[in-house]
């Protein structure tokens, strides 16, 4: 396996030929390589090619480099609260020191069947083993084909904050970054194979928060994560851990339309409470 260290986005994209994979902090990618879920003959280390750090372009927009670590984000006062809290509640201090925002947005599902390489729908197969089997950590929305639960706390926070993503070739909203898997396209991230996330613009909110229910106090993925951000009178709420992708909730009543599995009904109850609390907190 080769390791290349391009210094510009352009060189990085050029290096991302077939069989090459972008490597940032490696916290998700390295285990996937070791377990041979991702196969690569070259790793393109993007640390020097992707912006890192936080700047304010105006009073209302914070620009964040995709190479910024979660640890850096959680302590930066320029970063809106919901995103800071989402970072602080993620993973462990060690992982946050290595893991980057770009890598976090592209991290793979934690579905145990997928990670154990069951030939399931998301891997290109026919069935969802989780739906028929053990699925207490799985989805309550968008789970018709694949019931995986999106693991990123940051993505939900960014969705609620209405962030936009700049890649080496375009700009798009965080909502456009993700899509439910379909028969034709199983990947939930709507980027091209060699497309790099460079920066995110995160609009300021008048108030924002991130609440998270997990199986232990620290170092656990969200059972349900709820981000709320208020700008003026309008509040946007987004959820982590409830659908194969970060989930925008139009209103608290939308939870009535959840389609929980037998083992995930409790997540609807959890989401109701956390949404109510998040709305109260953002006033």
């Amino acid at each position: 396996m080769r390791l290349v260290r391009p210094e510009t986005p352009r060189d990085a994209v050029a290096a991302l030929t077939n069989g090459a994979v972008a490597l940032a902090g490696g916290t998700d990618l390295v285990p996937l390589l070791r377990d041979r879920i991702v196969e690569a003959d070259a790793l393109v280390h993007v640390a020097d090619a992707v912006p890192r750090g936080v700047t304010s372009t105006s009073t209302s927009i914070t620009r964040v480099g995709a190479g910024t670590t979660l640890g850096e984000l959680e302590v930066d006062p320029q970063v809106p609260q919901a995103l800071r809290e989402a970072c602080a509640l993620s993973a462990s201090p060690q992982l946050r020191a290595m893991g980057t925002l770009g890598g976090n947005l592209r991290q793979a599902t934690r579905c145990w069947y997928w990670r154990l390489k069951f030939p399931c729908y998301l891997h290109g197969g026919e069935r969802c083993h989780a739906k028929e089997g053990e699925h207490r950590e799985h989805a309550i929305f968008g789970n018709e084909r694949c019931a995986s639960a999106h693991p990123s706390d940051l993505a939900a926070a960014l969705l609620a904050l209405g962030a936009t993503v700049r890649t080496d070739r375009r700009e798009l909203g965080v909502a456009e970054l993700y899509r439910l898997p379909t028969d034709d396209e199983r990947d939930v991230v709507g980027l091209e194979r060699d497309e790099l996330i460079l920066e995110l613009d995160v609009p300021a909110a008048d108030a924002s928060t991130y609440l998270k229910a997990m199986d232990r106090r620290k170092w656990a993925f969200p059972l349900v994560g709820v981000a709320a951000a208020r700008v003026g009178p309008s509040v946007r709420v987004a959820l982590a851990g409830v659908a194969p992708i970060p989930w925008l909730l139009d209103s608290p009543a939308a939870l009535d339309d959840a389609t929980p599995l037998p083992g995930t009904a409790y997540k609807v109850e959890l989401a109701r409470v956390l949404v109510r609390r998040a709305l109260a907190a953002t006033g």
Partner: protein, 778 residues
């Protein structure tokens, strides 16, 4: 004099009758309370070595030319190997030898030459490889089927994927209740009865009945199961992470048909075992066989995934329990049907044990079923059976207390039992009432704790009691060598599995020899360099080894006094050893090295043996824990805020080490209660929680305030030390204490572990519904 006796030997509640040779224990116990070294906080004698990374664990053992192994484990819970083909694997870079599930010979070099690549179970002519721990009919996911040795672990792991297997996948049996119904049992149901349960229930004013469930738990010791095998001439050296050097020695000798002394077992430092490392394990036999075939040292180390698939577990249980009591709280009946979901192999632990032992109840009936399933074999896990059984029993008692409208601590006091009602023997010592007394201030906090409830958090306090074995026993031996420099070395082939026994043994020898601790070494961990020593399981290391070490030190001390008496023309009875000196009653004092210096390079050698257990008595350990919790009644989040633990294990050798055992036990217990569970795919039987992100051990953020107290009174009937074991007691009551605190806080009955969000929310919903019904009817 050596005495041959037939005695009952107990390990973790399993009794076997066996012959042992014991030597009388001639020493009087030391007075109670802190002495010079014993009974005082003592940091680990090997702490710096461990912290600096100098301690050599099995995972650190390296030999020139050492090969690494990867094991092909069955991905199916029940299957048959129709065909297995090693050709591609053997051709892979670095691969030196392979082993498969049948008899035959091969190594990397000549495998291709002999054309022995492909192999079908029924055509043993072409079967190239074999080991008795490999199977072509795996009966659980993770069973070892084949193994490869290569120059590096990466090469072995790569090549193992190239072993081509054609499986015939069969339907697995995964449900414990179904297994009992189909009589798929590992042993006859174990029935126990005293008195008459029906009569007892008839006499009861109040009866409670409930079903409790506990989950399958994984040990996840920091160091995975592993060994390195090396042949030195006709001797096999086994470097292994083990709780029982001598058990590995005899197990390997027997399986490989070697004389026992041709097997040397070494374990100097160990990264934990919790009960799952009492035997040699498949990895040792694989390494030994591959080492024999290649003439190289071979390491076989389980990966974390293998560890969680196939290295043992605390099996799940289903407990259907009933209790009856008179209005004053006197128990009239206790009954239980305990289904242990053991796995394909292993043992049906005594889940009914606490129900039989803890309370003075005349009418008790229990039955334990050991269900055989297509899941990986269980292994002892820190108080196997009693952790599970105490959860059921102690929750049931609180449900009973609620119905009786009686204080839960009072209920336990009223049913205190003076003697062992299972076999009518008196206890060698039992200070459980003292534990209860000391629990009172912690228990009395509950009004104040409840009052701190603030929506959505509700706070409460719960307690649970504990009984367990932990008396140890013979045979166990130690030597103590004192050199002319006045330093002592304790020599015994025991193992310190991480609990700090090395330190405790040094303290005991130092105390007896009147030496400062830094003049005592402990040489352990090598079957070729010391006498037979006890298994480190069943809370037995300190009570088994400690008395032997003290006896050996006393033997050395006696010799030193004899020499000093002759040298200084004094009577032996006026001499003793203190502060590194030989001192006489009239104030004379000579540095120890002045006396032992007479020997030149010669040494004094003391010998000691563990004496017999007190005849006709039952040796048990006791304790109580009081837990305080906060429950978010909207999200089902449970936070344990404080646990107070009071245990009675006789004399405490090292209070610092003892507290750390209790703290570790409680923290592990919190994981068992709130977050840990092995999940299986219900269709295929595959283990889904193979890595530590999925199998959720508690983190330091989950650790509450911990308060630890010991009764710390020597058991006057037990050995020259009066000390019992403490490895297991502290994990036993934790789950029940937490569950009872949850009930106190919320009124919700959690009867199934772990108390995840879904279980907590379910229990809260049930409690609300109960209240609504009650409100409507009243």
């Amino acid at each position: 004099m050596a005495r041959l006796i037939r005695t009952e030997k107990e390990v973790e509640g399993r009794y076997t009758e066996q012959w042992v040779v014991v030597e009388e224990d001639a020493l009087d116990q030391w007075p109670a309370g802190p002495l010079e070294t014993v009974g005082r906080d003592t940091p680990r004698v090997d702490g710096y070595e461990r912290a600096r990374g100098e301690a050599i664990y099995t995972a650190d053992v390296q030999f020139p030319g050492m090969l690494h192994t990867a094991v092909l484990r069955s991905p199916h819970a029940r299957a048959r190997v129709k065909r297995i083909d090693f050709e591609r694997a053997l051709a892979a870079p670095g691969v030196r030898a392979a082993l498969g599930p049948a008899s035959g010979e091969s190594s990397g070099g000549d495998a291709e030459a002999s054309g022995a690549g492909a192999y079908t179970p029924d055509s043993s002519a072409s079967a190239p490889y074999s080991s008795h721990v490999l199977t072509d009919e795996p009966s659980f996911a993770g069973a070892a089927v084949a193994a490869l040795a290569a120059d590096t672990f990466a090469q072995a792991a790569d090549a193992v994927r190239l072993i081509d297997v054609e499986w015939e996948v069969l339907e697995p049996l995964l449900d414990a209740d179904e297994a009992v119904a189909r009589e798929s049992l590992l042993e006859e149901p174990r029935r126990y009865e005293r008195g008459d349960l029906e009569r007892g229930l008839g006499e009861a004013d109040v009866v409670v009945e409930a079903e409790y469930r506990t989950q399958t738990l994984l040990h996840n010791a920091l160091e995975t199961h592993q060994s390195v095998c090396r042949w030195e001439g006709d001797t096999l050296e086994v470097y292994i992470s083990t709780q029982y050097i001598w058990g590995v020695r005899s197990g390997v000798a027997k399986a490989l048909e070697l004389p026992q002394d041709k097997v040397r077992v070494v374990c100097n430092f160990m990264g934990g075992g919790f009960g799952a490392k009492n035997n040699a394990g498949d990895y040792t036999f694989i390494a030994a066989e591959l080492a024999r075939r290649t003439g190289r040292p071979v390491r076989c180390a389980l990966t974390r995934r293998e560890e969680n698939m196939a290295s043992g577990n605390r099996n799940a249980t289903i407990q259907r329990l009933v209790a009856g009591a008179r209005a004053d709280g006197t128990l009239t009946a206790l009954g239980g049907e305990f289904v242990n979901a053991v796995g394909w192999d292993g043992f049906s632990a005594s889940t009914s044990g606490p129900m039989q032992l803890l309370y003075a109840c005349d009418n008790v009936r229990t039955v334990d079923y050991g269900a055989q399933l297509n899941t990986s074999p269980n292994a002892a896990f820190r108080a196997p059976g009693f952790v599970e059984g105490t959860f059921g029993l102690e929750c049931l008692l609180d449900e009973l207390a609620a119905k009786l409208d009686l204080d839960p601590l009072e209920l336990r006091k009223r049913n205190y039992s003076d003697s062992d009602l299972v076999d009518g023997r008196p206890f060698s010592s039992k200070r459980l009432l003292e534990c209860y007394r000391r629990a009172e201030p912690h228990w009395a906090r509950r009004e104040e704790v409840r009052a701190r409830s603030e929506a959505p958090w509700r706070r409460g306090v719960g307690l649970a009691s504990q009984v367990w074995y932990g008396g140890g026993g013979p045979p166990s031996y130690a030597w103590v060598r004192v050199g002319s420099d006045g330093r002592a070395t304790v020599i015994t082939a025991m193992q310190d599995i991480g609990t700090g026994t090395r330190t405790a043994m040094a303290q005991i020898a130092a105390e007896e020899l009147g030496l400062p601790l830094d003049r005592v070494e402990v040489a352990l961990g090598d079957s070729a360099r010391g006498p037979f020593a006890s298994i480190s399981a069943g809370s037995s290391t300190t009570p088994s080894m400690g008395p032997a070490v003290r006896a050996a030190a006393a033997d050395a001390a006696r010799q030193i006094v004899e020499i000093a008496a002759q040298r200084y023309h004094l009577e032996q009875r006026v001499l003793s050893l203190r502060g590194g000196h030989v001192v006489s009653a009239d104030g004379g004092s000579w540095p120890l090295e002045e006396v032992t210096g007479l020997l030149g390079s010669g040494q004094i050698l003391g010998k000691g043996a563990r004496g017999p257990n007190p005849a006709g008595m039952r040796v048990l350990t006791f304790g109580i824990q009081v837990a305080e919790v906060a429950v978010d009644v909207e999200t089902g989040e449970v936070r344990v805020e404080r646990v107070a633990a009071i245990h009675d294990v006789g004399r405490i050798i090292n209070p610092l080490g003892a507290r750390s055992q209790v703290e570790g036990g409680i923290i592990q217990g919190i994981g068992h209660t709130l977050s840990e569970q092995r999940l299986l795919d219900p269709l295929s039987g595959s283990v889904l929680t193979q890595t530590l992100d999925a199998y959720k051990l508690p983190t330091i953020a989950d650790v509450p305030e911990l308060v630890t107290e010991f009764v710390d009174e020597p058991d006057t009937h037990l050995t020259n030390l009066g000390a019992k074991g403490l490895g297991e007691p502290p994990i036993i009551p934790t789950a029940a204490a937490i569950a009872n605190a949850i009930r106190d806080a919320t009124g919700a009955d959690v009867r199934s572990l772990p108390v995840t969000r879904e279980e907590m929310l379910r229990a809260l919903r049930e409690a609300r519904e109960r209240e609504t019904v009650a409100a409507r009817t009243s």
